[in-house]
Assembly symmetry: C2
Homo-oligomer: 243 residues x 2
DNA sequence: CGTAGCCTTGATTTGGCTCAAGACCCGTGG
DNA sequence: CCACGGGTCTTGAGCCAAATCAAGGCTACG
């Protein structure tokens, strides 16, 4: 529980990609007190209206933020990948305004909110990296608003695939523009504001056109430049330094 | 330029609503070095791809964040009202990923990014308030994703009106559920992912049903409870303390 | 008093939704 | 080892909410 764990490497690496960090900061992050927990797919990590006292960090697997309308439909708001801190906002806000659920089996490290608050004050370089992570997430929200508000279904799905692929590549979970979707087509529909049926048709169409190759949930982007062009995709909003 | 100005009152008040602040902090905010600038309606305050060296704070008027697709359509991502700092993210991110434009004539106070960076490190209570403002903005993004992704046109417009009204009331710019829209119906369409024509029809329909009363751009919410219900509106996501 | 921007309304079209049925895939238990 | 069943994916048919196209009307301002 208090001991150094290989687990928090994921967090330290993810944050150090965001802002330069010295060995001391890096070491400090790895030694943060935390508690490991595993969740089955579909579990709730955070529920709307509650105020969690820990911030989970994803070590392995995927989660998503989600809101439900009174009419019963679900909108997925964002996806979290390994290295992401999934509850920075509840450090400063009273109640969670949305739900967080696991997409697959996930392993998280819980860090106490009080530990984080102290860290934000005492470690400016780490604090900077955490804020950058939060600001980039907000930037992705903005792009999703554009995606859902002003792009047609084909463009929208293409954009989603480009974004997810780039994010995975940045943390080494995708190679050669090829990756595994950790979600059903229903989830994909809830990410893009479409229906599962229409997502299916669009995916088929993208395969038929030869832009992607699908094998179950494995996606290979066959023609990156063309897909990105059709997707109206530019990765500036992801704020990934090296690329 | 360096002198105390009545202008920054707006910022100090807005931030102190977000996190408790002592007289010293309050005074410090009012005495921040800044430069006042006015913009005509439609001016660009920030352009995608640039890195401004000041953060504008709205003293009077309204601005909006906006992105354009390659197909030429525009999506408005958020609205800023007096007291809002409109460029906190560029403190930490290299290039702006979107545009900010004025909706009406606006007066802003430019604060140097370096001044802000120093402030974030030296004044924890103010820093907290600034981060809360940024986190609440992200929360509003999340709600807009839901609004655009999963609500029909009538619900969407109703939700937009509820949100805008509550935000204005929080800073004393609306009374009795009655306020002035600082935008054209085309802007409203770009906020909601609809077309101007359809926005017009929905507004008419909301008047005809008696939920709102319109006089040019003046909106009076005649039946708040009913409008909020139809809008699937709950103000939790705005994180306004007192209400 | 002309003109440009905004608003309003009608007619028609269409992208994506709904409804429905069947196929596939995989884990489970007999 | 195979039958069963539930979740997911796929495809077809028909429909509808919102888009598009188009034409006037209003208002403010030079």
């Amino acid at each position: 529980m208090l001991a150094k764990s290989p687990g928090l490497d994921t967090l330290a690496k993810s944050l150090s990609l965001r802002s330069p960090m010295n060995a001391d900061d890096f070491d400090f992050l790895q030694n943060l007190p935390h508690r490991i927990e595993r969740f089955d797919a579909g579990s709730y990590l955070i529920r709307e209206g509650t105020h969690p006292d820990t911030c989970p960090v994803i070590l392995d697997g995927f989660t998503f933020r989600q809101k439900l309308t009174v009419f019963g439909s679900r909108q997925i708001i964002s996806l979290q990948i390994p290295g992401d801190m999934i509850d920075v906002q509840n450090l400063f806000l009273d109640e969670s305004d949305h739900n967080v659920q696991s997409l697959s089996t996930v392993t998280v490290a819980h860090i106490r909110q009080s530990t984080l608050e102290h860290l934000l004050l005492s470690r400016p370089h780490i604090a900077r990296a955490i804020w950058i992570q939060a600001l980039v997430e907000a930037s992705i929200y903005r792009e999703w608003i554009v995606n859902i508000g002003r792009r047609d279904a084909r463009t929208r799905i293409a954009h989603f695939l480009c974004e997810f692929c780039i994010r995975l590549k940045a943390i080494g979970l995708a190679r050669d523009d090829s990756f595994e979707l950790p979600m059903t087509q229903e989830h994909l529909a809830d990410c893009t504001g479409l229906t599962p049926v229409h997502v299916n048709r669009v995916l088929k169409q993208l395969s038929d056109t030869g832009l992607i190759v699908r094998n179950k949930r494995h996606i290979m982007v066959a023609k990156w430049a063309e897909l990105a062009h059709e997707a109206d995709f530019s990765q500036r909003y992801l704020h990934i330094a090296n690329a």
